[in-house]
């Protein structure tokens, strides 16, 4: 969890990938409690099946939050200046997700770096992509 230094964060630098999960229904519920989003499609099996899904699935903002954790663990929670996500595939119970990222830009005067990040389902596709800006002291 050592914060990366400016000299190390050149354009093209890859951050070490990290695996999270397997995600459980309990993880979904814990996130729903923490976030206040109680859409039953993420925890109520009957409701999810009734809506045409094989089972419940994760909250998009949970994998977004895990990807944010991946970034702040490496660059420091107090240094984030922007974090934007787009949702791709759904994440299902039992999925493991691998977070990775790389430096795509540097602003020398502002001492900020731009990152592209993704959370990929093991054995599946990309669940969430993100772009982020971090200050680097």
């Amino acid at each position: 969890m050592q914060t990366r230094r400016w000299e190390d964060l050149t354009v093209g630098t890859e951050l070490d990938a990290q695996e999270f999960g397997p995600l459980t229904r309990t993880d979904f519920v814990r996130y729903q409690g923490a976030s206040g989003d109680f859409n039953p499609i993420h925890h109520d099996e009957e409701f999810a099946r009734g809506a045409g899904f094989p089972t419940v699935f994760s909250v998009g903002m949970l994998q977004a939050g895990i990807l944010a954790t991946y970034a702040t663990d490496r660059l420091g929670p107090e240094h984030v200046r922007s974090f934007g996500v787009q949702f791709r595939e759904q994440v299902w119970p039992g999925d493991r997700i691998v977070c990775s990222g790389r430096v795509t830009g540097r602003d020398e005067p502002a001492r900020t770096v731009q990152l592209e990040l993704e959370a990929r389902r093991v054995g599946g596709g990309v669940a969430v992509i993100a772009t982020a800006t971090f200050a680097v002291p």
Partner: protein, 162 residues
């Protein structure tokens, strides 16, 4: 189709207090064990923490109540947070206000028109300084989303906007 005249519509501002326990709970739920969240007596908020405005928003007064989305057909397309300096810390009271920034349509890959609604939420500290901004894109699909949407990449997670 959402009426495009809703662009510019804003809801009533409300207060949100950033609390240490909620930050800790959120950090754990998003699988962080960083001491900046868990050990600092006044931790900064995690990057996506401002999604918890739903705990503070007055019920039924959301701007979404006014734009009449069909919730059975709503997907969460994207979410972006901007911080104008370090993220705010526990103990801060923020004033929160959401406005509709844009409404536009696109053709879905599997047919049907998708309507995109972009909202911008401003978070101001007690001095009135803008400390953070959230930009959210929700998509109203032409028909209810199904598991098959997963393969199309059209959308999203099936997360309904609450």
């Amino acid at each position: 189709m959402v009426d495009p005249s809703v662009v510019g519509l804003a809801d009533e501002p409300f207060e949100m207090v950033l609390e240490r326990g909620k930050i800790r709970e959120f950090a754990r739920a998003t699988m962080s064990s960083h001491p900046a969240y868990l050990a600092d007596p006044a931790p900064v908020i995690p990057p996506t923490f401002l999604t918890t405005t739903s705990f503070w928003a007055p019920p039924g007064r959301s701007v979404f109540a006014k734009i009449r989305l069909d919730l059975r057909r709503v997907l969460h397309g994207g979410q972006e947070y901007t911080f104008f300096g370090p993220p705010p810390r526990a103990g801060t009271t923020l004033t929160v206000q959401t406005r509709v920034a844009d409404v536009f349509e696109k053709q879905g890959r599997r047919g049907g028109t998708m309507t995109f609604v972009v909202t911008v939420t401003e978070f101001r500290d007690p001095t009135g300084r803008l400390v953070a901004e959230a930009r959210s894109t929700v998509i109203e699909t032409g028909r209810p989303p199904t598991a098959a949407d997963d393969a199309t990449g059209d959308g999203a997670t099936g997360k309904e906007h609450s």
